[in-house]
């Protein structure tokens, strides 16, 4: 017993693990070794909870098409004007909570869609995209989130809702995101393989207990426990992926490790840097970010509650609301800069292969109609540089459907969509 068996043990379990997915791994290595000739498509969804300043964020509705003027709230995006499209007129018709800026934003679901229940949601657009784009990357999708209670987002753990309409957790700490994406494994391969095997066998143990718990449960409780089983399956899928990626070293991070403890504007900027880096390195292809508002205000030295600012009137609060809009637009402009600066294998930029949507389910104050929406990037073949005013109450899901189709997802509908937005297709 005193002889250290560590090394032998690792080798033993390593060979056991390797035997199973060998074929897949070989395939995979072939894939990983040669970069695809055409760079893959990517998607980004960014949401700020509390909406915008109505008077100064939206372009003049009388000037549409290519002939439009940037309003003050979007002014920091001036250098990208030809590359952004502002869409007006869209909403989620079932949305009814004026403090929920992101719960149904990407889903277009009916909260009361399930009889006898007071909350129901369905799959979000990013997860539809992830199912299509995420198979070949280390992470199927990446969810980023800000944890504050007063950010106007409503229920959810990130912008993403899975196949069953359950909330998906988001990473909240930029340092953690960095390590998840880029930190090199210091552990030897055999030891990592052993760890994977160990994780599998942990899952095995808890599954035995979960099956025990299942006995005698009501239907409702069985559904609840199903989240546990689903988590196990998700980890299994991830382990399977980890295994395929085991011998592929993590890519060198194109950015430095972030400083801990940043909040607000700096934190968003950092998350944007990480988004660009994750896409650049093809670590994932679909990213959502449920952005902070409260901490952004603090970092701009605005002391009101984020919610209270959304009830602005002329004066200090409206100025605060406008400062927030400008800061958000400036951050977005910075992200676009970054995406444009990154060259891909075909000589074009990462921006050209990315579809980005930026907005909120809340327009302003308590308004849920005309959701603020900015689209950019060349990934989904969206016609850029225009100001579109669609007919009132066009389902926002039509925009998502158009984007999904643009990146090659073969689907007829999403959420409460009623069709494609033809004006958006280049």
């Amino acid at each position: 017993m005193n002889t250290p068996l560590t090394r032998r043990h690792f080798l033993r379990s390593a060979s056991a693990v390797l035997a199973l997915p060998a074929l897949e791994s070989l395939d995979f290595r072939a894939f990983a070794a040669t970069k695809p000739a055409t760079p893959p498509k990517r998607m980004i969804f960014l949401n700020f909870g509390w909406g915008v300043t109505n008077e100064t964020w939206f372009p003049n509705v009388k000037k549409t098409g290519a002939d439009w003027e940037l309003p003050p709230g979007l002014a920091p995006l001036a250098r990208h004007k030809k590359d952004i499209t502002v869409v007006q007129g869209c909403s989620n018709k079932f949305a009814d909570m004026p403090h929920w800026g992101s719960t149904f934003w990407l889903t277009g679901a009916n909260r009361f869609g399930e009889p006898g229940q007071s909350f129901h949601n369905s799959i979000s657009a990013d997860q539809v995209a992830a199912a299509h784009l995420g198979g070949d990357t280390r992470h199927t999708s990446l969810q980023l989130n800000a944890p504050n209670a007063d950010d106007g987002h409503g229920p959810g753990l990130s912008l993403a809702w899975d196949q069953r309409g359950k909330p998906m957790a988001g990473l909240e700490n930029p340092v953690l995101v960095f390590h998840r994406l880029f930190s090199d494994e210091t552990m030897p391969l055999a030891q990592r393989q052993a760890m994977l095997a160990e994780k599998r066998s942990i899952l095995d143990a808890v599954t035995v207990n979960a099956k025990r718990v299942q006995r005698g449960l009501t239907k409702t409780d069985t559904d609840k426990l199903d989240e546990y089983f689903q988590s196990i399956r998700d980890i299994e899928v991830r382990l399977g992926k980890d295994e395929r990626w085991l011998t592929v070293p993590k890519v060198k991070p194109p950015i430095a490790e972030p400083k801990p403890g940043l909040a607000g504007r700096e934190e968003i900027k950092l998350m944007y840097d990480l988004i660009a880096a994750a896409l650049q390195t093809d670590t994932t292809r679909v990213i959502t970010y449920r952005q902070p508002v409260s901490t952004l205000l603090r970092s701009l030295e605005l002391k009101f509650a984020a919610h209270d600012i959304s009830h602005y009137g002329p004066g200090e609060r409206m100025e605060a609301s406008q400062k927030r809009d400008a800061a958000q637009s400036e951050l977005l402009a910075g992200l676009i800069d970054k995406l444009k600066a990154i060259r891909e294998s075909d000589g074009r930029s990462l921006f050209d292969h990315t579809a980005l949507a930026y907005g909120s389910n809340i327009r302003t104050i308590h308004y849920l109609d005309n959701c603020p929406t900015v689209l950019t990037g060349g990934g989904a073949g969206i016609k850029r540089g225009q100001h579109l005013v669609l007919s009132k109450d066009t389902p926002l899901a039509n925009v998502w459907l158009t984007m999904l189709r643009g990146i090659g997802v073969n689907t007829e509908r999403h959420g409460d969509s009623s069709g494609l937005v033809k004006e958006l297709i280049a």
Binding site: L5, Y312, G313
Partner: protein
């Protein structure tokens, strides 16, 4: 057991019929006049036909159609401008009816008939459960937050689980076990003693010598050089060299003053100005997490205001300028000539970011930064900007700044501290002691016992144990020690569903019948209609009841006594259950219930949503804010332990405060622990309406908000919640930007029927509270101003008009009459509280089908002066609480 089952059968009452919600017939005329003309059967406009829309809302499609009508009216889209317009009053009336009906309809249609969804331990419960089991506090801040405003974190339906979280549970359990399980000798308890003057004097001398004088000298030479670049004098650019002159002028006098004071020879003064605002101490990175004790010898300086004699301890964070993460605020009663030693018990967190030392490039000053750097300072608003402003103003009067009020002789840290080694939890886990044979059989016994405790009396299957033992075996084969090898299987237990979920399947009798596919033991079938669906309700087993009870009143697992009463079935006897409930409520762990329930019930998360303007409310700093929050919780606790009627939350002749709040309220009372203080009649304090926390939540940190306050009173005190803020109602802002009183600003609400329908109920209550400023202090005038930072451009004083009328016509001339009017509604208040307790305890939103239960609890509680324990006993004794 048998008698309990029979009891259930006999108390069974038929479940209420699905509630029909009806739009009031009186509103049909309005509907006809303003909607049906265009939206009738004949060629309905926009294809929207409303003539067949039923006034009875019995299903979701009908609700959706009415919702559209409500939306169109709220947004002002309908009736269109070119059609006949309703009078404001009749439109307001119709909207009031319709929005009220929709709230009721949603509630009725969302009624599950009381189905309780199995729940995962929420974040609080998880932390408590680990603590009760292992004796250590886990740092669960990486777990997602549970619950959101308007709901409780006990609602199973809203407690989700994701794969990330599952992995988190494994990691957290492992960390806790690493702290608990002794795999080596007792970690050394170290102690470090720091004389406060050593660090402070050295630092200030260095700054004076290098930064201050160096900068000033460079400036003078540059000025005399007639235009040579500043870099010739070692300074980057012109703006920097001018800044250095400014710093010289600002800081030299305070620093010389500091260094020449006799008290700084033997200790450190805590200054407001930059010279020495904090005395810090760092616990080195290599120290393990755990319990530590900090000490400081502190005294108050003579001839300074008593209200400044409060010292704050906090985590300094990444920079001296950052807000501190406060740990404690204590009153300093001893004079500097005879200082007192204060002790602070802290939990040192696991190290995530290594300590760093920042050395100013020219100052040579060393500033130690990190999550384990603690600092003492005089109590003040949690931003340096405020202190800088105070120092600026005082500098002009005294020539150096603000006279220091506190002095520190030395500081100390000691730790990690253990009650015993190995820890109590270690000895519980390795129950046979040090001498036992460390073999597989012992490992299996340990795991079986641990899992049984972790699973709260639920059965542990041999097949599961087999898996756990296999993990142990594997680790052992890898060469790990017996104790070390147990960590992994033990942490698996703490990530298993039997631990993470409060699963209830009912008593053995109920289970057997179900398994046999026989008639369900207690069956409730809705008489007609399909909602709620027919289902069965089974009585909980004894252990399940024990668990539900302890998670209700302790937010944690049952102890051995409760669990064994559950196992034996005795707990299902009313007398035993009653006695146990009383025991749980008397335990210190009931504090978890008080905080968990009260904070969510009263919506107190709003206190954290904004910062208070420290120019306007310098006294309402983070320490006072925290004490104000605690006041609400301690009051609730006093009401529980001293058997006061719950209505004393509406009006009382006592407050529960500490010395800090006494100072804030201008009351006389000593003692840092919260305690009851009688207040004379005619003072505004006593009851929730006079509490700073409640009033502060009803503000935006700058001004009081009659709307927030009024809506809060309707929701929390009067059981008459206004409908949720509707989407798409136009906001009125024509008054903003003028120097109007809060009351004047809101008159616009009465002009638009969409607003008036709710605000005529909400706003007047808020007017009655206008004598309290945004930070909860009494005022006779309201100052409206336009300001930026510390400069006020314009301001105007308004006398307070606190009169108003409640929606039932009750008139009040000010706060005291309003408080009396609200205090009279004790039934409504108690019912609201009961409804919230029911949904918190059962872990699901309150539903229409709870009405009978709530009424019954109220009836029982009124027999015994409506005390919190009576309400809880009635709730625990109910069929709903004892069944699933």
């Amino acid at each position: 057991m048998k008698s309990a089952a029979i009891l259930f059968l006999t108390v069974t009452t038929a479940i209420a019929a699905p509630h029909e919600t009806r739009m009031d017939e009186s509103q049909r005329v309005f509907f006809k006049n303003y909607c049906l003309k265009c939206h009738g059967a004949e060629k309905p406009k926009a294809d929207v036909r409303l003539d067949d829309l039923s006034f009875t809302i019995a299903d979701i499609p009908t609700a959706e159609r009415w919702q559209k009508v409500l939306n169109a009216l709220n947004s002002g889209d309908m009736p269109p401008e070119d059609e006949k317009q309703p009078r404001a009053a009749e439109k307001a009336k119709f909207l009031q009816h319709l929005s009220g009906t929709m709230v009721a309809a949603r509630k009725a249609l969302g009624d599950t008939g009381g189905v309780i969804t199995m729940r995962r331990l929420n974040k609080r419960e998880y932390e408590n459960t680990i603590e009760d089991l292992l004796g250590v506090k886990v740092d669960a801040k990486e777990l997602p937050n549970d619950g959101s405003s308007g709901t409780f974190d006990t609602f199973g339906k809203s407690l989700f689980l994701s794969s990330d979280q599952l992995e988190q549970y494994l990691t957290l359990a492992r960390r806790a076990l690493d702290q608990v399980i002794a795999t080596g000798p007792r970690p050394k308890t170290l102690k470090a003693h720091i004389e406060a003057e050593d660090e402070a004097n050295l630092r200030i001398t260095h700054i004076m010598r290098f930064y201050q004088m160096g900068g000033y000298r460079a400036y003078k030479q540059w000025k005399a050089s007639n235009g040579r670049p500043t870099t010739d004098f070692g300074i980057v650019d012109e703006s920097e060299i001018k800044f250095r002159l400014y710093v010289w002028e600002r800081n030299t006098a305070p620093m010389i003053d500091y260094l020449t004071r006799p008290e700084t020879k033997t200790g450190a003064l805590l200054t407001i100005q930059d010279s020495n605002p904090q005395v810090g101490l760092a616990i080195p990175d290599e120290m393990p997490p755990g319990r530590y004790r900090l000490r400081a010898r502190i005294g108050a300086m003579p001839n300074t205001e008593a209200s400044r004699h409060f010292v704050e301890l906090g985590v300094r964070g990444r920079s001296m300028e950052d807000a501190m993460n406060l740990i404690a605020c204590r009153k300093v009663n001893a004079p500097q000539s005879k200082p007192e030693v204060m002790e602070f018990d802290i939990t040192l967190p696991r190290l995530t970011v290594p300590l760093s030392v920042e050395i100013g490039p020219e100052t040579k000053k060393q500033l130690i930064l990190g999550e384990r750097v603690f600092a003492f300072r005089e109590r003040m608003p949690n931003n340096r900007e405020h202190a800088a402003q105070l120092a600026r103003v005082a500098h002009e009067q005294t020539g150096f700044g603000v006279e220091p009020a506190l002095w520190i002789d030395w500081v100390e840290w000691e730790g990690p501290l253990f009650d015993a080694w190995p820890t109590a939890a270690h000895s519980r886990i390795f129950f046979k002691g040090e001498t036992a044979a460390r073999d597989d059989a012992y490992a299996r016994e340990i795991l079986a016992r641990f899992a049984a405790a972790a699973f709260r009396g639920k059965e542990v299957k041999p097949s599961y144990l087999d898996k756990l033992v296999a993990h142990f075996r594997e680790k052992r084969d890898e060469g790990e020690s017996f104790e070390q090898a147990m960590k992994e299987p033990l942490s698996i237990v703490l990530a298993s569903p039997s631990f993470l979920y409060l699963n209830e399947i009912g008593s053995a009798a109920g289970r057997e019948t179900k398994a046999a596919g026989d008639v369900k033991p207690v069956s409730f079938t809705a008489p007609g209609g399909d909602a709620p669906p027919s289902r069965s309700r089974v009585p909980l087993s004894g252990t399940e009841l024990a668990t539900r009870l302890s998670y209700f009143l302790w937010s944690g697992p049952p102890d051995d006594g409760l669990l064994s009463l559950g196992k034996s079935g005795e707990l299902t006897q009313p007398a035993v259950l009653h006695a146990q409930t009383r025991r749980l409520l008397a335990s210190p762990k009931a504090w978890r219930f008080i905080t968990g329930f009260t904070h969510q019930w009263l919506g107190m998360e709003r206190l954290d949503f904004f910062q208070f303007n420290s120019r306007l409310y310098p006294g309402f700093d983070d320490s006072v804010k925290r004490a104000a929050r605690d006041e609400v919780l301690h009051t609730m606790h006093t009401i529980l332990t001293e058997n006061h009627p719950v209505t004393s939350l509406l009006k009382a002749d006592f407050v529960v405060i500490n010395d800090l709040l006494a100072d804030y309220y201008g009351l006389k009372s000593e003692g840092r622990d919260f305690h009851k203080v009688l207040v004379p009649p005619g003072t505004p304090r006593g009851g929730l309406l006079g509490m700073a926390a409640v009033l502060a939540m009803g503000s935006d940190g700058e001004r009081s908000s009659p709307v927030e306050r009024g809506a809060w009173v309707l929701r929390k005190l009067l059981h008459d919640p206004p409908p949720p803020a509707p989407p798409n109602v136009p906001q009125l802002s024509r008054h903003s930007g003028k120097l109007l009183s809060a009351r004047e600003l809101l008159t616009a609400h009465m002009e638009e029927p969409q607003c008036a329908q709710c605000h005529q109920r909400i706003d007047p209550i808020g007017y009655g509270l206008e004598h309290f400023n945004a930070a909860g202090l009494w005022r006779d005038v309201e100052v409206a101003e336009i300001a930026s930072g510390y400069s006020v451009r314009k301001s105007k004083e308004h006398p307070i008009d606190a009169s108003g009328t409640l929606s039932d016509g009750t008139k009040f001339d000010g706060f005291f009459q309003l408080r009396d009017a609200i205090a009279k509604r004790e039934k409504a208040f108690a019912l609201g509280l009961i409804e919230n307790l029911v949904s918190y305890a059962l872990g699901r939103p309150s539903q229409l089908s709870d009405d009978d239960l709530c009424a019954d609890i109220l009836l029982q509680a009124r027999k015994d002066k409506l005390t919190l324990p009576t309400i809880i006993h009635a709730l625990v004794g109910s069929r709903e609480f004892q069944s699933k």
